[in-house]
Point group: C2
Chain length 221, copies 2
């Protein structure tokens, strides 16, 4: 196959977790194995996390098991900084994941009396809100093909490996993120491949190369 994987595995990060508070907070590292829970919905918000490597999904469940994934967190992303005292959703490692951790309280304390620190925290929340607003439009009004195209472009931008990206998440995860079934996601992938907008291979077809970002973008309308 003609695909080539980029060797560098981490993308440019939007700032170290500790930088939020001016380096003077204590950060420790931690690792989660594939499929393990980082925190659960309703638990107390004790830590703030930043991904070093790997990937995390955050989601909500209905009582009968239907799942909606809010967002995927990739290397460099922070998560778990919620304003209330309890988490509003569950976070799980999708693959083996290393994170930097700091106590929420010490981060907030250190942030408060730092120039522009509060603005950065507001910025983080706002970024999530903006993502959620765009995702509501996707979930409420886009077709299956449009959703998958939007997903691919989002991942392309965030993983930003020049030629090829390797998705950490399964078709089921993608489906639960896009409000579809895994079969529909799979069919959309195949149909985009047939239309020559992407190629994929690898053990579980997760190695993806976008070959026509222009037409994928058109599907975003």
């Amino acid at each position: 196959m003609l695909l080539r994987t980029n060797t560098s595995s981490s993308r440019p990060v939007d700032g170290h977790l500790a930088a939020l508070a001016g380096e003077n907070v204590f950060c420790s590292e931690f690792r989660y194995r594939r499929g393990t829970e980082v925190f659960g919905e309703g638990e107390e918000t004790e830590y703030v996390y930043q991904i070093i490597s790997g990937a995390v999904r955050t989601y909500k469940l209905l009582s009968d098991g239907r799942r909606q994934i809010n967002s995927f967190h990739l290397p460099g992303d922070m998560f778990g900084l919620e304003n209330g005292v309890t988490h509003r959703f569950t976070a799980e490692a999708i693959v083996e994941t290393r994170v930097r951790i700091t106590r929420r309280r010490s981060l907030l304390d250190a942030t408060r009396d730092r120039e522009g620190g509060v603005a950065k925290v507001i910025g983080l929340v706002t970024q999530s809100l903006q993502h959620a607003e765009n995702h509501m439009l996707l979930l409420g009004r886009k077709t299956a093909l449009e959703r998958v195209a939007a997903f691919l472009l989002e991942m392309d931008e965030r993983l930003s490996q020049p030629y090829v990206m390797i998705l950490p998440m399964s078709r089921r995860d993608i489906a639960d993120y896009l409000g579809l079934t895994l079969e529909t996601v799979s069919r959309a992938f195949s149909s985009l491949r047939d239309e020559k907008m992407l190629q994929f291979d690898g053990p579980t077809q997760r190695r993806i190369a976008l070959t026509d970002r222009g037409r994928l973008g058109d599907l975003n309308a």
Copy 2:
């Protein structure tokens, strides 16, 4: 018909707009006629708004006209306080609406050096985020009937007229909020009436009485 409307028209408000900054900002009143735009997507964020009476919808559009309503704003609610310099969606008055307005800058300036002022701003953003997260679950994973039940309970809580509420928005607005068509919304209303969970009448069937909140809640799963 046996329905009775409560005469008091405004609900307990979560705080005057000016209270955010400690009363020392200038607020003026303004009114918008039914269907007029308060601000447009992409415009500069110049003002912050609080509804005195009436209702406002905020939405995003796709290029072909498909519309997703993010949220409805009712008396007491604030909106338009976005972190960036431009609005990420459009806001329109659904009915004749009176608002309190203040300049975003003066509010933020006055808020910054006030005890707990910043926390209140973060609280506002967080509240929107929480609403958006719940709405993603609804849009991604709930059935038509579940969506409509959730909508009715949300409005019941927010309009909180003890016996009867009068919805300001049309079936089309509801549909664009719930990711459905107006016909499907109408059928869901009728089916919930047939199941004796609500009654409705009034000129355009917008006067609603919930008669079994328990079973409506069950539909939320």
